[in-house]
Amino acid sequence: MGTIEVTKLTKRYGDHNAVDGLDLSIEDGQFITLLGPSGCGKTTTLRMLAGFIRPDEGTITVDGCELSSPARVVPPEERGMGMVFQNYALWPHKTVYHNVAYGLRMQRPRLARKEIRARVGAMLEVVSLPGFEDRFPGQLSGGQQQRVALARSLVTEPSILLLDEPLSNLDAKLRDRMREEVQEIQRRTDITFVYVTHDQGEAMSMSDRIAVMSSGRLEQFAAPRQVYHRPANVAVADFMGLVNLLQGRVVSVDRPAAAVEVVLAFGTRLRLGLTDGTTVFVGDDVTVAIRPENVTVRRSADAGEALVADVTHTTMLGHLCYYVLDLAGTTLRVQTASDVELDRGDRVSVDIDERHASVFPAEVDAESAIEEERV
């Protein structure tokens, strides 16, 4: 079992709140990712879960047992968790065998040497490194070191595994492969994984749920699909990938259908669904978030369309094309399949997919939201 309940967790460094009143409840056996830009408090949160940092406020409870509070922190060695470090933290003076066996040797009552040997062997099979027992970490490649680190943290069969950006030191190809392996191991073991990363692609591809953090606060805690398509606010929308943030004004509100009609700066009217918890009134200034893939462009041979824009910049990515459009003074980023061939200076007609656009009150613009996160 590995149910984690985080309540009002706060950690301050001087005046700065590294983690600020974080509430999080993680179900047993889930793959959870703490996602956010550097300095958002995700690593501090993870290290508090591990027991390396004492919270200033709030508690961490695992399976009903309070492990951390400002008054008392159960030390890391008594929490029965596993952890994979960003730099792997393999002990350079110990062989692969002794690295992996370490956690088993620490267990009380003592395990028989035979059992330790058997379990280390089995664990090395799981991470596909059988026969590497006598190597030293310095003799392994980055990917192999990563596997040893995984094996070392899993061999004690913890109920919770903490992973601190474990793939960030690998090259792109290896990272994709390890991603699948980590996911596979999580499915096989049913251990609760708490995974920290700043890479939204990694987060979306692996997680059951993503906790998006910024400035020490939880912005959204939801499934990857929802975080991407129904971001809770502008900051989340902006962090989850390239997004157009357009200014508009509410012209009508349809409360029963949770929908609003918005007129954009360049005159287009859109009918948009409201995200849970968002309240807007007629006349309010709003920000509309539209992902580049939810805008379609056609050569404006068939004129008469409402929206006409000029292509100002093109980027060919192989499987995709990005275009920057100028729409009556507003910059719009668009993504298309690569067979749509447009050139600089082309005149195109633009269609916005209303179903995938989100609307937010315009109190915080994206620029300053990002600025805040970098403390």
């Binding site: 079992m1 591990a50 027991g51 390396f52 695992v62 399976d63 009903g64 047992c65 492990l67 159960v74 030390p75 890391p76 060695e77 008594e78 929490r79 029965g80 968790m81 596993g82 952890m83 470090f85 960003q86 730099n87 933290a89 393999l90 002990w91 350079p92 003076h93 370490y102 956690g103 620490m106 267990q107 009380r108 799981v126 070392r152 943290s153 899993l154 004690t156 069969e157 913890p158 109920s159 903490l162 096989r188 073991t189 049913d190 251990i191």
Partner: protein, 570 residues
């Protein structure tokens, strides 16, 4: 689909003791030790200089200004320190440049010679120079007398100039080490980009290289200055016979019966303030204007081709080291093998008798050897353990007050050996427990003197270990103590062995504090050498000196083998 069995729910393993409590206990213990070692004697030193416990007065300080033999000591000290700094700078910078930037032959030999000059205790080179350059009896003087038919040889080592020269021989290494490091870290790209913009070779040196390394050069020169201020052995051996006093030797002589604690403590304080002032200046210089030490990795080095000056440069460098390193060692070895210095060189004058005498026949030197070994091993061991403790607390434990320990441990850098001894005498003589006049007071003195060295060694070893290695052990179920034993200590081993041997070697050569603190029965080899040289038994003294040099070389060599790195290079 395989499944790993799950651990029983909600059963965190229980530890034996809370780690926060034990951390505080360790911190408190280390702080207490440092307070006793460092602050306690310093307190009595300061108090003593202001008249002691009866009434507070500045009369002791007024005496320093008024009494000629007190301020003359200060003047001599400043003269010698300045002279030694200038000589070290003038000799050290070219040597460093040759090593770092040219194709001079035999660079390794130059590096080794630098280390040798650094590792010879000052009083040993002083003794060697007495053998070489004493008026009338000195070998060089005799040689010149015979060659030119003079009545009296030209050299007199018992002089301000002689003392200054011998002092500089032992401190030139500071300049060579630091200047080489600075030059090594200036990427030649910086110089070449100036060249490509049209600067001449000379302009490049004056406009680019020189400003970049100046702070390091000045800092190393100030280090030589501080080092020279504190020297005792060579200044005593070369100065006391002709009444040339420096601050340390004056303080020492004030302890002769009847002791004048007032003047001794006031002079000590003057020496401390001078030392601290210069050290502060040196630190500021390195911190403020250090362009080169920040990156820490060697840049690309273009080597200057010396052409036909290769061998002249080679000769010049080794010519200097002939005086700073080779001659002293050679002279000591030769003198130790002769029956009498006066008889000249010949097969009939060769003998092992001096070694037999000091090792097997003379009880003082036998006793001194045993004492020295006991003290060196225990001080090195206790020192490096304490050093590791302080470094660990400072770098790893998130306890308030950890930084204070680090500061405390650097205080002895400002305390010359003689001064420390004065403080220890005042501090321990009044206690009813038998510390004073035992080996314990010597052990305490060595621990205090070399704790900065110990902390620095352990600190740099610990800095190379990523904290996550310990954290990985904790999260795997290893307790705080277990993680230190299994992970941290094994990884620090190399650095700690190096630190241990450095302390060991320093203890063997320690004279400045020992000379005021030893008592009959507790002599060390350094004390025996000093006493017997005062009495003129230079042959047996040379034999003892050679043994000291051998022990030094062997220990440093072993440490180098074990750690795979040269421990004599900072």
């Amino acid at each position: 689909m395989t499944t790993l069995p799950q651990q029983a729910a909600g059963s965190p393993r229980r530890g034996r003791w809370g780690s926060a409590v034990s951390a505080r206990l360790v911190l408190g213990g280390a702080a207490l030790i440092l307070l006793v070692l460092v602050v306690y004697p310093l307190f009595w030193l300061v108090l003593g200089s202001f008249g002691g416990t009866d009434e507070l007065t500045v009369s002791n300080y007024l005496r320093v200004v008024r009494e000629p033999d007190l301020y003359r000591a200060l003047l001599n000290t400043l003269l010698i320190a300045t002279g030694a700094s200038v000589i070290s700078l003038c000799a050290g910078v070219p040597i460093a440049w040759f090593i770092s930037r040219t194709n001079i032959p035999g660079k390794e030999a130059l590096r080794t010679a630098t280390s040798v000059s650094f590792m010879i205790p000052g009083f040993l080179s002083a003794i060697a120079y007495v053998v070489l350059m004493a008026p009338n009896t000195g070998w060089l003087n005799e040689l010149v007398e015979r060659m030119f038919g003079l009545d009296q040889g030209p050299f007199n080592i018992y002089s301000l100039l002689g003392i200054t020269a011998v002092t500089s021989f032992g401190s030139v290494a500071f300049v060579v080490y630091l200047a080489t490091a600075a030059l090594d870290s200036v990427d030649s790209g910086l110089e070449q980009s100036a060249q490509i913009l049209g600067a001449s070779r000379w302009k490049v040196i004056m406009g680019i290289t020189w400003p970049l390394v100046t702070p390091a050069l000045l800092a190393s020169t100030l280090l030589v200055f501080v080092h020279s201020l504190a020297l005792f052995g060579s200044h005593a051996i070369l100065g006391l016979p002709v009444q040339i006093y420096t601050l340390p030797t004056r303080i020492y002589s004030l302890f002769a019966f009847p002791p004048d604690y007032g003047a001794a403590t006031a002079l000590s304080m003057v020496l401390v303030l001078l030392t601290i002032g210069v050290l502060y200046l040196q630190r500021r210089l390195l911190k403020r204007r250090s362009y080169v030490t920040t990156e820490g990795k060697a840049g690309f080095q273009a080597q200057v081709d010396l052409g036909r000056y290769r061998w002249p440069a080679f000769l010049a460098c080794h010519g200097f080291f002939a005086f700073a390193a080779y001659l002293p060692v050679l002279v000591l070895v030769l003198a130790s093998l002769t029956k009498s210095r006066g008889l000249g060189f010949g097969w009939d004058n060769l003998t092992w008798a001096n070694y037999r005498y000091v090792m097997f026949e003379y009880s003082l030197t036998q006793r001194a050897t045993v004492n020295t070994l006991i003290l060196a091993v225990s001080a090195a061991t206790a020192g490096i353990v304490l050093g590791a403790l302080v470094a660990y607390i400072n770098l790893r434990l998130k306890v308030r007050g950890a930084k204070v320990l680090d500061y405390l441990s650097t205080i002895p850098l400002g305390l010359p050996g003689v001064v420390l001894a004065v403080g220890l005498v005042l501090a321990w003589i009044r206690l009813p427990i038998a510390i004073y006049a035992t080996m314990w007071i010597l052990l305490i003195a060595y621990l205090t003197r070399f704790i900065p060295l110990a902390v620095r060694s352990a600190d740099s070893a610990l800095r190379q270990i990523d904290p996550s290695l310990e954290e990985a052990s904790r999260i795997s179920g290893g307790s705080w103590l277990r993680s230190i034993v299994e992970i941290t200590l094994p990884l620090m081993k190399g650095g700690m062995v190096a630190g241990w041997s450095l302390i060991f070697v320093q203890v063997i050569g320690e004279l400045a504090a020992t000379i005021l603190l030893f008592s009959v029965g507790n002599e060390t080899v350094a004390v025996a050498i000093y006493q017997r040289s005062e009495e003129g038994h230079l042959e047996e003294v040379s034999a003892l000196s050679v043994l000291v040099l051998l022990a030094t070389a062997v220990v440093l060599g072993l440490a180098r083998r074990l750690t795979g790195a040269s421990v004599t290079r900072w």
